[in-house]
């Protein structure tokens, strides 16, 4: 799992009931705008995310509708599990790092 994907999932897990549109996710995950759509598409194809159109009339507001993303119930569980695995792996690597560098474990 790439670091941007982890950042997106952590952002969404922090606010499991909230819906975000693309720019909000970028801002909350400290990622550059325009880079997360492949991640969102992949997570949506896995069923971890669901999306819906903003409920407004574009002709009245003068702007296109936003697409809001949120975690599904199953997606939230899967994401928590995946992030926990990633964290555990990172903790193991951090534990091994002093040995590689000649320090004490």
């Amino acid at each position: 799992m790439t670091l941007p994907t982890q950042a997106v999932l952590r952002t969404l897990i922090e606010h499991p009931t909230r819906e975000f549109y693309g720019l909000e996710i970028c801002a909350a995950a400290s990622l550059p705008s325009g880079t997360i759509h492949p991640i969102l598409a992949r997570l949506e194809s896995l069923g971890w995310l669901e999306s819906r159109w903003e409920e407004l009339d574009p002709r009245e507001t003068g702007r296109p509708r936003r697409r809001y993303y949120s975690l599904t119930t199953d997606g939230a569980m899967q994401a928590r599990r995946a992030l926990a695995q990633v964290d555990a792996r990172a903790a193991k690597l951090n534990a091994l790092r002093p040995r590689f560098s000649g320090g004490r474990s």
């Binding site: 705008s33 992949r42 159109w53 936003r66 697409r67």
Partner: protein
């Protein structure tokens, strides 16, 4: 003590008589073959005296027509002039907008000889338009069934940004377009964003 009366000032009639005599003498002299006689002397007959407001001739151009009365009614003027003034205001506003709008200036820039510098100037002048074109390009890379959804989604996010941020957003979309296409092709069949 009464001296001789000073010679009275000749009247205007006397002046005319002197003038007529002089002109008569000149006319007599003009009979000399070397001097052609004038066809018409303006002083042969006296012209009718022009009296303001009274036509001396009997040939009025509209003898039977009475002069129209000038009526200055604000409401009737407004009825006939409102459309004209509205059209004038619209035209004036359009002319001002055309003169001041960046599109006109961009069009003027576009008329310049094409070069990379001119293209960069156009992009810097209208980053939003350049970003919109890039978004259109990105959407063309995506699978057919997803284009409409992502075009609207990208445009909605683009509308939240300003200036060069729009351009940066569109460039990042362009850089990640192939990854997005790959992710969308891995989706389960029939799952599209169209509603």
């Amino acid at each position: 003590m009464t001296g001789p009366e000073p010679e009275s000032v000749p009247a205007a009639a006397d002046d005319d008589a002197v003038l007529l005599r002089v002109l008569g003498a000149l006319r007599t002299e003009s009979r000399h073959p070397a001097i052609p006689a004038p066809r018409r002397a303006s002083c042969d007959e006296r012209l009718p005296r022009r009296i303001p407001g009274a036509n001396p001739g009997s040939h009025s151009p509209w003898p039977t027509q009475e002069p129209l009365r000038v009526v200055r009614d604000a409401s009737s003027i407004a009825q006939t002039a409102t459309g004209y003034m509205r059209g004038w205001r619209r035209g004036h506003k359009a002319a001002l907008e055309r003169r001041l709008s960046p599109a006109t200036t961009a069009a003027a820039v576009a008329r310049q000889p094409s070069s990379s510098r001119a293209a960069l100037r156009r992009i810097a002048f209208r980053p939003g338009a350049a970003a919109s074109r890039l978004v259109g390009l990105v959407v063309q890379v995506l699978p057919q069934g997803e284009r409409r959804r992502y075009h609207e989604e990208f445009r909605a996010e683009l509308s939240r940004l300003q200036g060069l941020h729009q351009l940066a957003y569109a460039i990042r979309l362009l850089l990640s377009a192939l990854a997005l296409r790959h992710a969308l092709r891995q989706q389960r069949p029939g799952a599209t964003g169209e509603e």
